[in-house]
Amino acid sequence: MALFLIVFLPLLSSLVVGFFGKKLNLMLSHSLSCLMIIIPFFLSLYFLKLTLSGSYHIVVPLFEWLSSGDLITEWSLRLDLLTSVMLVVVTSVSSLVHIYSIGYMSHDPNQTRFFAYLSFFTFAMLILVTSNNFLQLFFGWEGVGLASYLLIGFWHKKDSANSAAMKAFVVNRVGDFGFLIGLAILFFYTSSLDFDIIFSMNEQLSSNTFSIFNIDFNVLNTACFFLFMGAMGKSAQLFLHTWLPDAMEGPTPVSALIHAATMVTAGIFLVARCSPLFEMSPSILSFITYIGASTAFFAATVALVQNDIKRIVAYSTCSQLGYMFVALGSGAYQIAIFHLFTHAFFKALLFLGSGSVIHAVSDEQDIRKMGGLYKLIPFTWIVMLIGTLGLTGAPLLSGYYSKDGIIEAAFVSQTEGHFYAFYLLVFSALLTSFYSWRLIFLTFNGKSNISTEIFSKIHESPKVMLFPLMVLSILTIFSGIYFVDYFMSHDYQFLWQTAIYLSESNHVIESIHYVPKWVKYSPLVMMVLGLITAIIFYLIYPNIPKILSNKFNPLYKFLLNKWYFDELYELIFVRNISRIGNFLSNFGDKRVIDGLGPDGISLRVMDIAKQVSRIQTGYIYHYAFAMLIGLMLFITYFFVRV
């Protein structure tokens, strides 16, 4: 029942606020939306406590959904440790985002609609993490996509927002296409979509093959590949990442929700949930490792040179998701979830903090036009510092435990490509530290580049926005040290046994406690190096970046333009789709089909009719002449026959 409430209270508030929000008192709809997500948060905490005490696992059936032939699915809610961690992440960040939005959106005339979308988003994510079969997971999966589409395009008068929303949905659909294929494969070989049934058949799946065009494919590998394709779309991994930075077009609280707690974590969750499948498919695990590490590196390099404050944080998300995938690929599912958990807090903090900065400087987002803000908005400055320390992995803060865990896991893993991942991740840690501090220094330190008009209006955000920042700061500081044992200590296997499957030979989490010293300290060293470089570049000699960008202009352009992915896709897909469409429409349909078909036939009929009608001239002598000839032919024929 409590589980039911967790999932459906946000839906209820979404519907009530969405349909009747305009009629309700604003205060009432605010408190309703917030309350309907805060209650689930406390219930989730209760469940987390319950599941952390041992191997707890229940399934609450609701009602039948789709049954056809041998396919039987039902709506149901599943709870185990993995779910309850996700529940806490989603509901906590969502509650804080709801509260923060009261202040952030206070001038928007359509804010009730905004709250309805936020609650719906939360609902979709909750149904996703509590699902007990792939179909329901897909429902939440696409529901999240829809909600993000609505939220990113919330300011619908901005063209860029509309395009970004559409891009997000379509790119996600590319991933969903993979997901659907994955489902079809799994269903074909197991006649079920239930997690437990499919997972129990994992060995059988891995021994089957099917062939297309005489090429043999392993069933499990193929299924995992396509499922991972879905995860790549949702979690914005390389090649399907392009929607994520553009998603910044939405209001800032949305960015926090999308990037920190929901949506992008769905892909990580999916792979962790399907650990019994992925665990049996080492080649796909190594593929995940490669993709994850490359994404982590790629996004970090792009973040180095961006100037939009939200865009930097967005690329940082993309990069951190890459870290999580490396953890998954290495077989350290718990650490991936741990990083997801801590990342949710410090990333939400960074986003909401950026929102507070943007709020203060009259909606300016370019960090080159800021500077020296630390005196003016000290509270925001401090929380941003905490967020940055968390992200870069400063000792004892949350990111330190989870991120270092991932790097160590990459080192000790058995997965092919783990060294590639290890070195890239270590290097990315340096980049992460550099771009994070660059953001801080350009925004808060140095001399101010703000126009006097805006300068006079700078103010700290209202309390309703600062409160969530404070809570998130506390979580950023303590969530790592408090929870690390549940994810990485020696009895992790007992705790997670119902949620995550580990093969016999997988001892990654055991072994990370015995890595060499240099591996253990490398991320920390990288972080300090990044910090020092940033201090030199932006505090001591602020001319260096300019000189470097001039000297290495092509490289700088390459990074600034995000490796030209958007341009490439525009060239390959976007333009060609309309070109092909036009061709098919004008040539295929109009010329070929209609031309040979109905239009052609009716033209021919008309032609013949015209020819025939030409005979009917209306002159008597023509008819008389024709009759004469006819008569002659007739007589001739008669004679000849005789």
Binding site: S67, D176, A184, G581
Partner: protein, 504 residues
């Protein structure tokens, strides 16, 4: 309940209503118009309510025909025989459910010859229900082809600028198919000595090559109706010119007569030929899904866009039917049912804005959401249903079809699934250009949101689209025994063929 002649009542009640309208004195004033509208509305509503009795009395576990009525007519040449199984029942209910909406949506938009318009719709209803309930092949043919006449008139009289061109194109295409089908029907009669579908099924004994020819004859008719690629080009033109309610009936019900024909005739009569031609159908369906989705994307006329998307969705129907397994067939029928709701709703939505702005060009719109927020919500819901978002009825059919197709051909399933990307592209493209962005057309500034009549139309459709998306079982249960029965027949043939090959 069998001797109540329930099916005949449902079939001919609309015709009675049409006669009533004829009796109303025609003096071209508003009162006679209003009277004919009310008669039409009440007739169709009562027909709908009576048709619900079918649902109550229908035994879902029984795959044979129910509510059968049989009278021998024309000196024993043919019979007047009606009856329903799960397949036909779904379509009959869909028809009786949608006709009242068609009348409601035309309430203000049709201004001249209102009486004739209402008569045309009621006659159309009779003919459609007759088509879905006939158990005699000649009777079926009569109903099936007569549907063309009122539809032709509706497009030709109350249509747009190029209405004559469209009406003729529509007629030409469908005529070609129907002549071939008639020839095949005559052959069946000569071969079996009966026109009753059940008897033909029992007695039909023909070799494989004759089966193939007959199959093609039926196919030519059904493929045009559905429509399948490449005989689809009449549909966009017909839609563009048809009045809103005409488009609704066309997309929601007339297209389904093609799919119904495959299920009722092609598969059970000619199982060998169906198996033989299945690859052809697969190819045509896949082409339809991808090709027409791409074409839909570049349309500038919103009705054409939806029309092309209908063709793509029908691609899933044919794909599902010719997988010959229960998920595929149930998916196909569900897809037809759900598309009936969704396309009806979308065409009604377009009608609603067309009445206000009198343009169908997408570029004339933009920023609608500011003045029509309620309408925007409905349109969003139907767009999402159209692009098969889980939780809407559109998803169920496509999902079942994809997993069923996977059992037969992996490649086909993958290609069909790519439809989910393409449909998102054109669906969201349309939505974005209509509803979002700056308002460029001044006329949009003063638009009014939905009135109560329009809400009354859209709310039930929206409810059903979500309801059947979350709980499709009522429909699936209705058709499951009929589809299992059909699958059994096909499997039997398949096994026979296999054993024959083994003997050789």
């Amino acid at each position: 309940m069998d001797n109540w002649n329930l099916l005949s009542i449902i079939t001919f009640l609309p015709l009675v209503g049409a006669l009533f309208i004829l009796l109303i004195p025609q003096n071209n004033n508003t009162s006679s118009e209003r009277n004919s509208k009310s008669v039409a509305l009440w007739t169709s509503l009562i027909t709908f309510l009576i048709s619900l009795l079918l649902l109550i009395g229908f035994d879902t576990s029984d795959p044979s025909f129910q509510f059968v009525e049989r009278i021998v007519i024309a000196d024993g040449l043919m019979t007047y025989q009606l009856g329903v199984d799960g397949f036909s029942l779904v379509f009959i209910i869909l028809t009786t459910f949608l006709i009242p909406f068609c009348i409601l949506i035309s309430w203000d938009s049709i201004k001249d010859r209102v009486e004739s318009y209402m008569i045309a719709f009621l006659v159309l209803e009779t003919l459609i229900i007759g088509t879905f309930s006939s158990l005699d092949i000649i009777l079926f043919y009569l109903f099936f082809e007569s549907v063309l006449i009122p539809m032709f008139i509706i497009i030709g009289v109350w249509g747009g600028q190029r209405k004559v061109y469209s009406a003729f194109k529509f007629f030409l295409y469908t005529l070609l198919g129907s002549i071939l089908m008639l020839a095949a029907i005559i052959y069946l009669y000569i071969n079996t000595g009966s026109t009753e579908i059940l008897l033909i099924n029992e007695r039909l004994n023909i070799n494989i090559s004759t089966q193939n020819i007959l199959w093609l004859a039926f196919f030519s008719s059904f493929a045009v109706k559905l429509p399948m690629w490449p005989v689809h080009t009449w549909l966009p033109d017909a839609h563009v010119e048809a009045p809103t309610a005409g488009s609704v009936i066309l997309a929601a019900i007339l297209l389904k007569m093609g799919g119904y024909g495959f299920l009722r005739f092609s598969l059970p009569f000619f199982p060998d030929a169906s198996l033989f031609f299945a690859p052809l159908i697969f190819i045509l369906s896949i082409v339809a899904i991808i090709y027409t989705s791409l074409v839909a994307f570049v349309q500038t006329d919103m009705k054409k866009l939806i029309a092309y998307s209908s063709v793509a969705h029908m691609g899933f129907v044919t794909l599902g039917i010719f997988t010959f397994n229960s998920q595929g067939i149930q998916g196909a029928v569900f897809q037809m049912f759900s598309h009936g709701l969704i396309s009806a709703a979308l065409f009604m939505c377009i009608g609603i804005v067309y009445e206000r702005l009198h343009t169908r060009l997408i570029s004339d719109y933009g920023g609608l959401v500011s003045n029509m927020p309620h309408f925007a919500v409905f349109f969003m819901l139907f767009t999402m249903a159209n692009i098969a978002l889980p939780g809407t009825s559109g998803f169920i059919g496509e999902f079942l079809t994809i997993i069923a197709t996977f059992k037969v051909s992996v490649i086909a399933a993958v290609l069909a699934a790519s439809g989910v990307i393409l449909s998102a592209v054109y669906g969201l493209f349309l939505y974005k250009n209509m509803f979002f962005g700056q308002i460029t057309n001044e006329a949009i500034e003063i638009l009014k949101d939905l009135n109560n009549r329009e809400k009354l139309i859209l709310i039930p459709l929206a409810f059903l689209v979500i309801f059947f998306g979350l709980y499709p079982s009522p429909i699936i249960n209705l058709i499951s025994s009929s589809s299992e029965n059909l699958v059994d027949i096909l499997n039997l043939t398949l096994n026979d063929n296999l054993s024959l090959e083994l003997k050789k």
